[in-house]
Point group: C3
Chain length 157, copies 3
């Protein structure tokens, strides 16, 4: 059995950013010498995500806009849905993140990390990432402009 570990570092220019890292992970797998196994790609921060999806700029802007509706900056929605079984207009109260009492302003970034998930496990078959034709690995930065880290751990033989 072999294991092999590397770390990727990111300091984004924007507060939120989506960075394709498939090639870097593939390179690490090659260096590991593992032919059959798995590689864990996992953000080491709690305001970032790692996901697998399409390398298409339009979709990335959709993901970003959609995420920001569900986990808005500054305050999260306490939604008053209609009564069980009923229809009607939706009301909400915007609750300032309790987390911000610590002096932080990134409550939304934590929720985005939980929603997207902070890690993926990729299969390695015949020495290569065993991905579908459209699958690309992304680092999703939700609170950027500072140095952050992703661990890439290969395991197999």
């Amino acid at each position: 059995m072999k294991t092999y570990t590397e770390y990727l570092y990111f300091t984004t220019r924007d507060h939120r950013e989506y960075i394709r890292i498939t090639d870097k992970v593939e390179e690490i797998v090659k260096q590991s010498g593992v032919n059959e196994g798995m590689v864990l790609v996992s953000a080491m921060h709690i305001t970032a995500g790692v996901y697998v999806n399409d390398a298409e700029e339009g979709l990335i802007s959709d993901i970003d806009g959609w995420l920001d509706s569900l986990t808005p900056y500054g305050a999260y929605p306490k939604v008053k849905w209609p009564k069980e079984g009923a229809s009607g207009p939706v009301e909400a109260q915007s609750i300032p993140y309790a987390h911000h009492r610590t002096g932080e302003d990134n409550g939304d970034s934590h929720l985005k990390s939980i929603l997207v998930h902070h890690q993926v496990v990729l299969p390695i078959t015949e020495g290569r990432l065993d991905l579908g034709p459209w699958q690309q690995v992304y680092y999703a930065e939700f609170d950027g402009k500072r140095r952050k880290r992703v661990v890439v751990k290969v395991m197999g033989e």
Copy 2:
């Protein structure tokens, strides 16, 4: 150390469909000869998910309806929540998916894949999937009626 890899194929009749695959994964684990280890079950497409939950038809229709509210077809909601600290009615703008400029119409399927997550890792103990009594593995198709694939990779000893 042993590894063992198989692929499952699905061509659903419906656009969205939820297919229980626990028995197929269990069968692959048996064939692998692995007694202690893990099995990765991962969609190879970016408009599908794999999750663990209940084999109960009511719940499956709840999951489907709920997902479609959060990630609607055609356009995603840019929600205007009340101002921080305030209460009131919720307004939204429905933004046509930028992804659709490519000619696709499955922006919502990509978001559903991210929300549900596209993979699970299942423990193998004494040669069997080590699942709780109600845990069932599901393939969630979010853009079906065409041939799609799931990789099942067993690793252990």
Copy 3:
């Protein structure tokens, strides 16, 4: 190659509860004797989650409040977003969970489990959990007051 398996048990006092389990997982890793590898931490129930995020009480209350807006108790929202491209008020219908026809009342707990995800895989490097400085492992109970279980499976060398 080594594997090592233990189970954690929880009977919460509250219906929903968030319990930090990092130290217990670290202890299991130590007992396993694995220096390089991975540990799977996975809920064995379909109304619970396992996630990695901040050990900060404010954030935990934010997570709980936010989750309950997106996956409300009793009924899930069928949202009528404005027509594609349009803006306006949001309406919704609250659909009683079909799952409740079975006699259960925990449809929302199942959705919370899917949203948060029920498992994480943690890297082990030099005999320790290889986590970032703020990363803590949490068991998220979404339907508590009864005995529930998490499997912790270590694999490596």
